[in-house]
């Protein structure tokens, strides 16, 4: 499994999101190749198809696919299981995506 963690420095949620990802990987005992990718420019945002920070890709697939994303330097909006908006992906969302990818392997 290849996990890519894409982040932008100006958005302060990435350290907590990174910790959540690490916690879920440890809990599921998934051996994954994990890569951090810092997005620095609008060009990089477009090239990486980066809809905002943080973004987590598992085997190239966004853990929270968007219907009409725009690719740019911004903080990313997620929705928690209870429907509340958040700048962070929930651990449940990360867990679901990792388990889905592990079933494909």
């Amino acid at each position: 499994m290849h996990v890519q963690f894409l982040w932008w420095e100006e958005c302060p949620s990435h350290p907590e999101a990174w910790q959540r990802l690490q916690r879920v990987l440890a809990e599921l005992q998934i051996g994954a190749q994990v890569e951090q990718v810092q997005i620095r420019t609008e060009d990089e945002a477009r090239r990486w198809r980066f809809p905002g920070s943080p973004t987590i890709l598992i085997d190239g697939e966004d853990i929270d696919p968007q219907s009409e994303p725009s690719y740019r330097l911004t903080c990313r909006l997620y929705f928690r299981e209870d429907g509340r908006p958040s700048p962070l992906p929930s651990e449940a969302m990360i867990r679901r995506a990792i388990l889905k990818a592990s079933r494909r392997e």
């Binding site: 100006e10 958005c11 302060p12 949620s13 740019r72 911004t74 903080c75 990313r76 909006l77 997620y78 509340r84 908006p85 958040s86 700048p87 962070l88």
Partner: protein
């Protein structure tokens, strides 16, 4: 940086309700004015939005008013345009004025850096608190320090807030190139 103890810069800005709001008028009618630099697109604003509505609801009868100001560059962030501000205010049922700082002059005058970024002014227009709304954007039920509410409670009885400065947490203001 606008320091606590200094006067908040004057503004007169259009709002989504079709009116123009001037700080001088707001200060004439209220004991405290909460200026929050805000926007539509930022997930931190979204996470705190309901709490902004709650604060306006809880303090309007105590002669305080909250005003949100969006200064973001709508060219690069189209969801922060005036039309989209009107949509957002309608969708969420904002009970506070939502103002548009298209030239970004007011954000610069306040040295605002993030959305949301709070500036609490007393009846004389003096800055008494700046920073975050509280200490937990993600879990309203886990908030330990209600910075803005505590500062409002103090200012409304003529006292100095215990905490006057905290770090603003959120998205950076999107400046025009």
């Amino acid at each position: 940086m606008l320091d606590v103890g200094q006067k908040g810069p004057q503004f007169s800005l259009p709002a989504v309700d079709g009116q123009t709001y001037a700080l001088a008028d707001l200060l004439n009618k209220h004991k405290a004015v909460v200026v929050i630099f805000s926007c539509n697109h930022c997930p931190y604003v979204r996470a705190w939005e309901d709490r902004m509505i709650d604060i306006q609801r809880d303090y309007q009868d105590k002669d305080a008013i909250l005003v949100a100001i969006n200064s973001n560059d709508a060219k690069r962030y189209p969801e922060d345009s005036f039309a989209r501000m009107q949509d957002r205010a309608r969708e969420k049922g904002f009970n506070f004025p939502y103002l548009h700082d298209e030239t970004q002059k007011i954000a610069r005058a306040y040295d605002a850096t993030h959305t949301p970024h709070v500036f609490l002014l007393d009846a004389e227009g003096v800055l008494r608190y700046r920073g975050a709304i509280d200490d937990n954007y993600d879990e309203p039920g886990a908030v330990q320090h209600h910075y803005l509410r505590d500062a409002l409670d103090a200012v409304l009885v003529g006292e100095s807030p215990e905490i006057t400065i905290t770090g603003a947490v959120g998205c950076t203001i999107k400046w025009k190139a």
